[in-house]
């Protein structure tokens, strides 16, 4: 059963809360007693999408389990900005080991809990797109394949932001990074490369796979809560804009994330055991230019003579998503 938006209460379920709705229909984030799992004082940049996405997801998981959550974190921005020695922003049991082994460590934690008979405690592994799609990919695939009782959350900001914006296998085509400079006849990242990790996760036939966005909080929370209620390996891929790496205004983080969804470039869907069960229909569809233009990593596509061919190729990707996933009515 998918998340049912409330059709009409001034802002319906588009806003975080809504004084006209029953408490149960508001988000966890609207609650005055949310856990603030990732607390104030962390060192993320202004307008960090990942800090926001992590709090959204972990707070929802805490709510779903009655605060019985342990987290294992891969190396990356999220780990670095939240735990500079000796401080921590986490208000949950949290551990960090290496860049590439978060999924394996989480599998171990889950096994230990099982041995100790602590079935009420749930394990979450989390990391950025680099630690997930590149460096930790082998461990993650193993976790999926063994169907370990772990929810793995990938916060996808589409490059290695912590080390200075290098390309990852989640970097979109044409995007400028430190390693895919905007030079030469085909500036930016190369078309036809990279991985679609949600689809790869689905290919493992694990119980639950979903994509989510910081731009759609209700949808994100429902997916995390559903994942927390399922046994076995689960995967949620959350799109989190990075103002620093993408060259967008810190105030526009959610707006950019929303444009990614509404252009069709970042489709929101759910899948169970390899089959797509639901998708988020586009509400106000926009051409990809609207998403690309406010980001300096795509600035080379615009300027005095816009690179219409490249923009058309990106639009074709969005159109294919809309068509194959049935995102438009």
């Amino acid at each position: 059963m998918a998340f049912q938006p409330v059709k009409f209460y001034q802002t319906g379920t588009f806003t975080v809360g809504n004084r006209l709705l029953a408490d149960s229909e508001r988000t966890v984030q609207a609650n005055m007693r949310r856990t603030n799992s990732l607390n104030s004082g962390h060192r993320a940049c202004q307008g960090c999408g990942e800090a926001l996405g992590a709090r959204y997801a972990i707070d929802a998981a805490m709510q779903a389990t009655g605060n019985q959550v342990m987290a294992v974190n891969a190396t990356g921005c999220l780990e670095v900005f939240s735990t500079p020695y000796p401080e921590t922003s986490w208000q949950i049991p949290w551990m960090h080991s290496l860049f590439g082994n978060a999924a394996a460590v989480a599998s171990g934690v889950a096994a230990a809990l099982r041995v100790k008979g602590r079935s009420s405690v749930k394990v979450i592994a989390q990391g950025g797109d680099g630690g997930t799609t590149d460096i930790g990919f082998g461990c993650l695939s193993g976790m999926f394949e063994r169907n370990d009782d772990v929810l793995y959350i990938c916060y996808d900001n589409e490059a290695y932001m912590n080390t200075g914006v290098q390309r990852s296998s989640a970097t979109p085509p044409a995007a400028r990074t430190a390693t895919t400079m905007a030079v030469g006849p085909h500036p930016g990242n190369v078309f036809g490369t990279g991985k679609n990790l949600p689809l790869i996760a689905m290919a493992h036939h694990i119980p639950y796979v979903a994509t989510a966005s910081v731009a759609n909080l209700h949808d994100l929370e429902v997916k995390v809560m559903r994942a927390m209620g399922i046994e076995g390996a689960r995967y949620i891929h959350i799109h989190v804009p990075c103002p620093l790496g993408w060259g967008s205004a810190p105030a526009d983080t959610i707006k950019i994330a929303r444009l990614a969804v509404e252009s069709g470039l970042f489709p929101l869907f759910e899948a169970e055991r390899g089959e797509i069960t639901d998708r988020h229909k586009l509400r106000r569809r926009v051409p990809v230019e609207e998403y690309l233009k406010p980001q300096r990593r795509f600035a080379h596509l615009f300027g005095a003579r816009p690179d219409v061919n490249t923009i058309a190729s990106i639009q074709a990707i969005a159109d294919r998503n809309v068509r194959t996933l049935g995102l438009a009515d």
Partner: protein, 541 residues
């Protein structure tokens, strides 16, 4: 404390790290002026009362409404709702049907017998209000609620002024008017009917009044020179509409011509139709675009079978033959005669050319300044004579019920201040909440609720009310279409979207505040605020 290998510091929370020092812009909560409030001539806090109506608390909504306007059932019927023309929602889908919700609240109050709250103790001053129309009633209401004793002198046999003698029943049923007037008088206001004030200074002295508010309206019909035989029946719109309130309605004949292009011309033509005229024709010397009457009223009239002859003047009337001359607009948009003539057959000519003010009661008052037949007042609604204030149709302004009610309120506040030898302090206006300050993504799609309209046959033959009201379910829906422009409605967006937990939620009805110790100044809260109630301001160093 003995620490593990290679550990030298105690663990700590990141709360020790005050990231607020990074900030160069700070978010600040603001209340901006919603365009509806800005446009309301009666100074209603429309967004304010819709806020309570949205949650179904109609009683509280009504109390908020009547803080500024004591006659919502009436206002929701006859106001030309400039609020809706200004409504930001019009740029999204359609304007909020504000007048329909106002009418619903007004009707609900009458149905449930809600009464005004008196909060201020009597202060011992006595104010004379001349005229029992919208402006006089509004002033009396506000003065009474400010603790003053009020007596209204009304020249006519009934209260209501132009609301009764100018607005036809099919737009304003008289039971609604009577009930709303009665509720105002229940505040302890004395209404003396059939009491014409011929000399204001004399009346004030005789009654021992400390101040006076004049609102006698504009009841003297303007005439024009049309060569006509004595046998021709020429009436004026004011006396026709007034005659409708007597036991013997005027006899207008089968074919009626109305001369003029204002709302009164439409009212009288529609009245003639209801009285049985088979032809009701309006002759107007300019075009539809230039007509001062409101377009929706013209459309209603056309629906009822009223005909209009644009760009024509009546030059001559002989018995039942009217000679009209075709006009043409010059470059400046003024109608100029063409010398082409035509004739119309009709039984009665009704002139609807506007009204003048009867200023005779002010004859012996020194210091008064007149302006084109109206009384000049200063920004406090006071005339040139200290202690005499004026408002409504008799001062230079747009002549609508809403403007009159606004004048009454403004005058009452200034009379109160003047009686206390004080000046009425006006709060500075907030910045206008423009459409581009909103984040409309968050508002759910919702088309405007349409009010039921009486069927055309009954509109042509009876004086039943044309526009129906909303019922509770669709009034609630309509109230919830309000975007709450510029004023926080506690959607929790700022609280939710802050990546730094730097927004503190204070609880229902108490809004939010920023924790500047941790706010990095990213501005996401301001961008994602649906209603534009957060502004970013530069930090000073």
């Amino acid at each position: 404390m003995k620490k593990p290998f290679a550990i030298t510091l105690d663990p700590g929370s990141s709360l020790a790290n005050h990231t607020g020092t990074w900030r160069n812009n700070r978010p600040v909560y603001v209340d901006r002026l919603p365009p509806c409030n800005n446009a309301c001539p009666a100074g209603e806090d429309i967004q304010g009362w819709l806020y309570y109506a949205e949650s179904g608390d109609y009683h509280r909504a009504w109390h908020e409404l009547v803080k500024n306007n004591p006659m919502p059932a009436l206002m929701g019927r006859v106001c030309y709702h400039p609020c809706e023309n200004a409504c930001n929602r019009a740029s999204l889908d359609e304007a909020v049907n504000i007048h329909a919700v106002e009418r619903f609240l007004g009707d609900e109050a009458l149905k449930r017998g809600w009464k005004f709250e008196m909060t201020v103790p009597p202060c011992g001053k006595h104010v004379l209000v001349v005229g029992g129309g919208p402006s006089g009633l509004s002033a009396a209401y506000h003065l009474a609620r400010l603790g003053h004793r009020v007596t209204i002198h009304e020249a006519g046999p009934l209260s209501g002024g132009m609301m009764r003698f100018g607005i036809p029943k099919y737009r304003l049923p008289r039971d609604v008017l009577d009930a709303e007037v009665e509720r105002i008088l229940d505040l302890g206001i004395t209404l003396k009917l059939n009491t014409r004030v011929d000399n204001i200074l004399h009346s004030m002295k005789q009654g021992g009044f400390d101040a006076a508010f004049l609102a006698v309206g504009a009841h003297v019909a303007k005439r024009t020179d049309i060569p006509a035989r004595d046998a021709t029946r020429i009436l004026d719109a004011v006396s026709v509409l007034r005659g409708m309130e007597t036991s013997a309605p005027p006899q207008l004949g089968r074919r009626v011509v109305v001369y003029g292009g204002g709302n009164t011309a439409l009212d009288v033509a529609r009245t003639a139709k209801r009285l049985g005229a088979s032809e009701a024709l309006i002759v107007y010397r300019r075009t539809r675009e230039q007509m001062p009457a409101h377009d929706f009223e013209l459309q209603e009239a056309l629906d009822e079978g009223i005909m209009v002859k644009w760009l024509n003047t009546i030059t001559r009337v002989e018995d039942t033959t009217f000679t009209v001359e075709k006009m043409v607009l010059d470059g400046a948009g003024f109608p100029q005669p063409t010398g082409e003539f035509d004739t119309i057959e009709a039984d009665t000519l009704i002139l609807a050319l506007g009204q003048d003010v009867d200023l005779s009661l002010l004859d012996k008052v020194p210091g008064l300044v007149l302006d084109k037949g109206a009384v000049k007042v200063d920004s406090n609604m006071m005339t040139g004579y200290p202690g005499i204030f004026a408002g409504g149709d008799m001062v230079p302004s747009e002549r609508t019920v809403t403007v009159a009610i606004g004048h009454g309120k403004k005058a009452a506040r200034n009379i109160d201040a003047w009686l206390r030898s004080d000046v009425c302090a006006r709060a500075p206006k907030h910045e206008l909440a423009r459409f581009d300050m909103l984040n409309t993504w968050y508002y759910a799609d919702a088309p405007k609720t349409v009010q039921p309209v009486l069927d055309i046959i009954r509109r042509q033959s009876t004086f039943d009310e044309v526009q129906g009201g909303l019922d509770e379910s669709n009034a609630l829906f309509e109230a919830r279409r309000c975007l709450s422009c510029g004023n926080c409605f506690e959607c929790d967006n700022c609280y939710g979207v802050c990546p730094d937990n730097a927004v503190v939620k204070l609880g229902p009805g108490k809004r939010f505040e920023f924790n500047y110790d941790y706010c990095k100044g990213c501005g996401m809260c301001a961008t994602e605020c649906p209603c534009g109630a957060i502004t970013m301001t530069a930090e000073t160093i």
